[in-house]
Amino acid sequence: MIQKVLAHYRLTQLSCLGLILFMAVFIAALLWVFRKGSSPFYAELENLPLQDSDRSLKGRI
């Protein structure tokens, strides 16, 4: 039924727009995480949970 109802729906530009928009953002995110020079940054980030309480006395920026 939902399928049938949606088939009535003719605003295809909107669907296309959404599809392209999301795909663009998704690809952008992919490129973003693999940008050059980001490795040390992510190495730092991924260690955040491991250093929270015990080693926090030092404090980091």
Partner: protein
């Protein structure tokens, strides 16, 4: 780049609030599982509701799902979020008062649900059953949580935002959006309201909500917890941080956009359809990447999985996650859905997710947190291992029995012989065949409950043996200095990944855009769901009967949606048309057929059949597992409220005339008298006309009549 003016600040974590949420999780978990085993047993043996209205399947099932998702799952999520957020941000929650309000407010909502749902106060929309006063309460508590959370983010002493927090933020934003849009309703009285959406539109909004609630209440927060607690338990960082980011964005899109929305592809030009397909596959891969990411985090410490129950729970939980996210898309394939929809296969699917994925992650988290919180050791690792194996066994028995039941029944419904007739024309035959599996399922659930009680005992002893009055630790960290963009010149990425507000806005945009694109079509629904000019809305009595149908939760066992498939139209009659539910608030298409579809029930049997059937289903259909409804023959119809009901309906656009409203009560009494007189002349006892059963029969006899009488074509 940061420097000279470092100010060291001391702070303590608010672990009291985490302890509170942990205890609430443990307690509500027992309730949720107990209710589940209870209603599962009722399907195996109908007598187990003891003939008490507030213990019947239709009233307890919503309580079971609400308790499992929002009480057990909800409290666990909050416990984990409060624990990990404070530590990841190196700060205490912004306001203890707001944290407390969140905790007690949430418990109050659960208690209110536990009282109102068994009494039959329900919106009749799955996972959004709670009536409007409670619904408003949920909004208030959720906003409190959000305010406290975002304030905490602003007060943080760690510049970078770890990926777990992204998942939490997405949860907070999206759940608020889902809840508010889906529960807009107009009250009739303190405990009754009608949604502003009707029929097709209500269905689309409801399943947009339902599908995304699974994503943003049972998936994103749990992934956040997994990304924090798994590295903690394994004592090593997550396998690939990059993958976790892709995982995040693909999830935000996969549900909002590629979920039910892929139906829209049918109307797209070919190139866009192809693009859409590629996109769906691309989105699906990272979701599995998430599971692999979790499992590979354990690289090098696999030997510890053998001995440490916490890691066991993580490994099994992630595996169930992978299974459920594989099964989900499979079930949405048209030809698979044709067999699986309305059957117990779906029940197997959701319990693989909840018992296996959500449950196991919660257990791992509890075993990890409790000793830390109470500054002690776990009472017994052996018991925890026993818990793991029994819970695993229980889940397997549950899933396998429901798969078998679902596929068996699905195939029986479709079976046709060479002459084109149904092989099992009597619905009850397909029920009797799977009742033994319902018993097996109840056993599986029972084993899971027992395993849970083992954990309960273990945690109880852990806390009881913990040293009393431990002072909470004090930490120190530097205050976070505002950094201007220019200072960041060399590392622009920190702007995006470090700024929670920018990130929140992006998430909101992603979710919001998906929502618009998915919901906009429904607002055009009125263009083509045109009601036939001579199609009449329900009479007052029928409407009241419908509300009784909603109250008793009949929709949890009966669908009102015949699909355009030969086996369905042969069994139930012509397939459902969208106009037929144009006046239905809430829609009652249902999602599960424990009993047959009722969309064309009107006129199929005489009134007396229904009268006897509702009194004792086994008297007319031997082997039936439907509950008996003796109280409908005792309780009186509230005729006085009908005027108010019709008025609200009219304000929502249902074509009632002023005369209809003015005479609502007398019209309904007249209609009831006619039905009652007919029944009495066939031997039904008096008095009858003012009893609820008459209103319900009026409703059942109306179902599908517009179509049968040719008003809708």
């Amino acid at each position: 780049m940061q420097n000279t003016s470092q100010v060291l600040e001391t702070y303590q974590y608010d672990d009291e609030i985490v302890k509170k949420f942990v205890i609430a999780t443990l307690v509500w978990g027992v309730v949720a599982l107990l209710l589940g085993v209870f209603i599962a047993s009722q399907l195996a043996d109908w007598r187990l509701n003891f003939g008490i209205s507030w213990l019947t399947f239709g009233r307890i099932r919503p309580l079971h799902t609400n308790a499992a998702i929002f009480a057990f799952g909800g409290n666990a999520i909050f416990a984990g979020i409060y624990y990990s957020t404070q530590r990841l941000l190196k700060t205490r929650m912004s306001s203890d008062l707001l944290s407390k309000f969140h905790f007690w407010g949430w418990q109050a909502i659960i208690v209110a649900a536990a009282i109102t749902l068994p009494l039959g106060y329900t919106m009749g929309k799955e996972y959004a059953e709670l009536e409007w006063p409670i619904s408003i309460g949920i909004t208030v508590v959720w906003v409190t949580f959000a305010v406290n959370y975002f304030k905490t983010l602003m007060e943080r002493r760690e510049r970078h935002i770890y990926v777990a927090i992204w998942f939490y933020i997405a949860t907070i934003i999206t759940v608020a959006l889902l809840h508010v849009i889906n529960t807009i309703q107009i009250p009739v009285s303190m405990w009754k309201s009608y949604p502003i959406y009707a029929g097709v539109q209500d269905a689309l909004v409801q399943w947009w909500y339902g599908h995304n609630a699974v994503a943003f209440f049972l998936t994103t927060p749990f992934l956040g917890l997994m990304y924090y607690f798994l590295p903690k338990a394994a004592d090593r960082p997550v396998y690939s941080y990059r993958l976790s980011i892709i995982h995040f964005w693909s999830l935000v899109f996969i549900y909002i956009w590629a979920g039910p929305h892929h139906l829209l592809y049918t109307a797209l030009p070919e190139w866009a359809q192809t693009l859409g397909m590629i996109f769906s596959v691309m989105l699906w891969a990272p979701s599995w990447g998430g599971m692999i990411n979790g499992l590979l985090t354990l690289r090098g410490v696999w030997h510890r999985v053998r001995t440490e129950p916490i890691l066991k729970f993580f490994v099994a939980g992630l595996t169930f996650y992978g299974m459920a996210t594989f099964e989900g898309p499979l079930l949405s394939i048209k030809s698979v859905s044709a067999i699986a929809h309305y059957t117990d296969w779906i029940i197997a699917h959701v319990h693989g997710g909840t018992l296996g994925w959500n449950g196991f992650i919660i257990f791992a988290m509890i075993y990890w947190m409790v000793p830390k919180l109470w500054k002690t050791e776990l009472y017994s690792t052996r018991l925890a291992n026993i818990h793991f194996w029994t819970a695993f066994l229980g889940t397997l028995i549950y899933i396998i029995s429901m798969w078998t039941a679902g596929i068996t029944q699905g195939l029986m419904w479709r079976a046709m012989d060479s002459t084109g007739h149904l092989v099992y024309p009597d619905f009850i035959e397909t029920v009797i065949r799977i009742v033994p599996l319902y018993a097996v399922r109840a056993v599986g659930g029972g084993i899971y409950l027992i395993s849970y009680l083992i954990m309960f005992y273990n945690i109880w002893m852990t806390v009881a043996k913990a040293p009393k009055s431990e002072k909470s630790e004090v930490f120190q960290a530097a205050k976070l200095m505002p950094v201007s963009i220019s200072q960041l010149g060399d590392r622009p990425h920190r702007v995006l990944e470090g700024l929670p507000m920018v990130f929140s806005v992006l998430t909101f945009l992603a979710v919001g855009a998906g929502t618009l694109i998915e919901l906009v079509p429904t607002f055009f629904a009125n263009d083509y769901v045109t009601t036939a000019p001579n199609m009449k809305p329900y009479t007052g009595l029928q409407l009241h009967g419908r509300d009784i149908y909603v109250r008793e939760g009949c929709y949890l066992c009966h669908s009102q949606m015949i699909r355009p498939m030969v086996s369905e139209t042969l069994r139930y009659g012509d397939y459902s048309r969208e106009q037929e539910s144009a006046f239905d608030r809430p829609f009652q298409w249902g999602s599960k057929r424990i009993g047959p579809d009722l969309a064309r029930e009107g006129g199929k049997y005489p009134d007396l059949w229904h009268y006897r059937h509702m009194m004792d289903p086994r008297e007319v259909t031997s082997g039936s597992i439907m509950p008996a409804y003796p109280w409908l023959y005792r309780d009186k119809t509230d005729f006085a409220i009908l005027q108010k009901k019709l008025k609200v309906m009219k304000s929502l656009g249902v074509p009632y005339s002023d005369i209809d409203i003015a005479q609502a009560e007398s019209d309904a009494r007249q209609e009831a008298k006619a039905i009652a007189d007919g029944l009495i002349s066939q031997g039904a006892p008096t008095p009858l006309e003012d009893r609820e059963i008459v209103a319900l029969i009026a409703y059942l006899q109306r179902l599908g009549q517009d179509f049968k009488k040719g008003i809708i074509k």
